[in-house]
């Protein structure tokens, strides 16, 4: 390395990015229901797969998921990890459980927290149910659910959950 290639001084500066997010019709419909404490997925008219949260189309068939499917707030842990490191910008204090939650009757999972149980007791296939915030705090967000907590039901064999087109 010649002198002119010697390491230079670097300054750290932060940028602030503000996004305008347009939810689109499927997510808007979903969030309007979430604000009322309901979880409503959408299903594909062709392969019948149920998507929650819905994105408005079925990636399998490439068509609109126009049929609304009311879902329960119960499901199971499809898989999970325990996050031990602090993530920059994330207010959640580790360790915490980040789980793929598969609601009953849904054919995809979404990520959410699992609490009200010792971390080393959590397992794949464990039955869980949403723990909602007080109703007066409900907004257009899945944060209306504080976390999922275990319920006293037998574990599910997750290998049986794989979607098969009808």
């Amino acid at each position: 390395m010649s002198d002119d290639q010697a390491p230079k001084d670097y300054k750290e500066s932060f940028i602030h990015l503000e996004y305008q997010y347009t939810a689109g019709s499927a997510t808007t419909t979903f969030l309007n229901q979430v604000k009322e404490g309901r979880l409503v997925g959408q299903s594909c008219p062709k392969c019948k797969a149920v998507y929650v949260p819905p994105r408005g189309s079925c990636p399998r068939c490439g068509i609109a998921t126009s049929i609304e499917v009311p879902l329960t707030d119960k499901g199971c842990v499809e898989s999970f990890t325990v996050v031990h490191i602090p993530i920059p910008g994330n207010p959640i204090v580790p360790p915490y459980v980040c789980a793929m939650i598969r609601l009953d009757e849904a054919d995809i999972s979404f990520l959410h927290l699992v609490q009200d149980i010792e971390i080393d007791q959590i397992r794949i296939g464990m039955r869980v149910q949403a723990v909602w915030k007080p109703k007066d705090e409900w907004t257009h967000s899945l944060e209306n659910i504080k976390w999922f907590a275990p319920i006293d039901e037998p574990d599910v064999d997750v290998s049986t959950l794989r979607f098969k087109p009808s």
Partner: protein
């Protein structure tokens, strides 16, 4: 179809902070090395194909424009490729397809990441609108898939440690590799802190600065140069949030591998491929991808790892360069796999050369494991 080959591979050294160079200096360093290896001048370059991971990783949007001078693209066709972590692989495939199309004779391709200029874990952990802030970096995303792999096949815990130690031992033979950990072994890996269960610190890839470039040319321009012939190449993607998707063994990876084996006339990859550079950013992805790529049956990948088959002296060495676990300039990580595969069949891999390597594989995956890119390179044209 016109046959294409790699005639030059150039890599920077990989480090956590390459503060001696700007982004432009970094890509040019790799390009200069690739062009020197290929023994070509700028007038021979017909087009430039650049790839890198999401622009948010450095906060420089469309860097291919600012880099036009550094990559020699002024007045020439330039294309930018985006496929998240697999981008280094897909960029190589797209550059090669420009040559195979007959439209361009010689294409320069370069990929890079300068992770030190931002924080990729932050960039991968955004709070999605109207959702809890739960994203926890790439490890947080892939760890549940790994846990599901372990649930299905019940491999012993040390498999992950073994991959992590093996790849870092290989890195000790590659002076460009970022992580150089003397004395690295399974015990050392197993004693590092847990980050995302079941992944420990040393089972995870580092954040690196670095660039990789290649010169790909058509058969009529090869001349007497040393060449890695591209015998099969493909990309595949699948719907991330598609019902029925198997994140542990994605269909896109299965299909992509079958496609390149068919192009290259490979019936049995396990015996016909001499060595492979596979995208393994987290230790357990070695056995997972061995299965996905058809090197063995489902549930058998961890046994290949355990038996030492994938070690430097095994019958199918994997990640001789140290792999993504040892150097991870994300946008370049896929191209490093492809370039290292080429170096093996050109006999230029120096201390991490697999003896008599004739056919090798480069593999990359990215995003939520929904993007795949692969190629087979050979010392012979057919």
């Amino acid at each position: 179809m016109i046959q294409a080959g790699v005639i030059g591979v150039g890599q920077t050294n990989y480090d956590s902070k390459r503060r001696d160079v700007s982004m432009a200096g970094l890509v040019r360093e790799a390009i200069d090395k690739a062009m020197l290896a290929a023994d070509i001048e700028w007038d021979a370059v017909d087009a430039v194909v650049l790839g890198k991971a999401p622009d948010m990783f450095e906060g420089v949007i469309m860097p291919e424009l600012y880099l036009a001078d550094a990559i020699g693209a002024v007045g020439k066709p330039v294309l930018r490729v985006h496929t998240a972590g697999s981008v280094g692989g897909s960029t190589a495939v797209i550059a090669a397809s420009h040559v195979c199309s007959g439209q361009f004779k010689t294409v320069l391709t370069v990929t890079f990441e300068k992770q030190s200029e931002s924080n990729a874990t932050w960039a991968l952990s955004p709070r999605y609108p109207y959702s809890p802030h739960i994203n926890a970096g790439a490890g947080g995303y892939f760890a549940p898939f790994i846990r599901e792999y372990i649930r299905r096949y019940e491999p012993p815990e040390h498999i992950g440690w073994k991959v992590a130690a093996k790849d870092r031992q290989n890195a000790l033979k590659n002076p460009l590799a970022h992580l150089q950990i003397p004395g690295i072994d399974e015990k050392m890996v197993s004693e590092t802190p847990m980050l995302w269960e079941p992944l420990r610190y040393l089972e995870s890839c580092p954040s690196s600065d670095g660039a990789c470039a290649m010169v790909i040319t058509s058969e009529d321009r090869v001349g007497s140069r040393n060449v890695a012939w591209i015998r099969g190449m493909a990309v595949r993607s699948e719907g991330t949030l598609s019902a029925g998707r198997d994140e542990v063994n994605p269909q896109g990876g299965i299909d992509c591998a079958k496609d390149i084996y068919q192009q290259a006339g490979i019936q049995n990859p396990r015996t016909e491929i001499d060595c492979a550079e596979i995208y393994v950013p987290f230790s357990w992805y070695e056995p997972m991808w061995l299965e996905n790529l058809g090197f063995c049956d489902l549930g058998e990948g961890w046994k290949l790892t355990d038996e030492g088959v994938t070690a430097m002296d095994g019958s199918l060495p994997v990640n001789m360069s140290g792999g993504v676990l040892s150097s991870n300039p994300i946008g370049a990580s896929g191209m490093i796999r492809f370039g290292e595969a080429a170096l093996q069949v050109m006999g230029l891999a120096e201390d991490h050369q697999v003896e008599d390597a004739k056919i090798s594989m480069g593999h990359a995956y990215g995003g939520a494991a929904q993007f795949f890119a692969m190629w087979i390179v050979s010392s012979t044209k057919d």
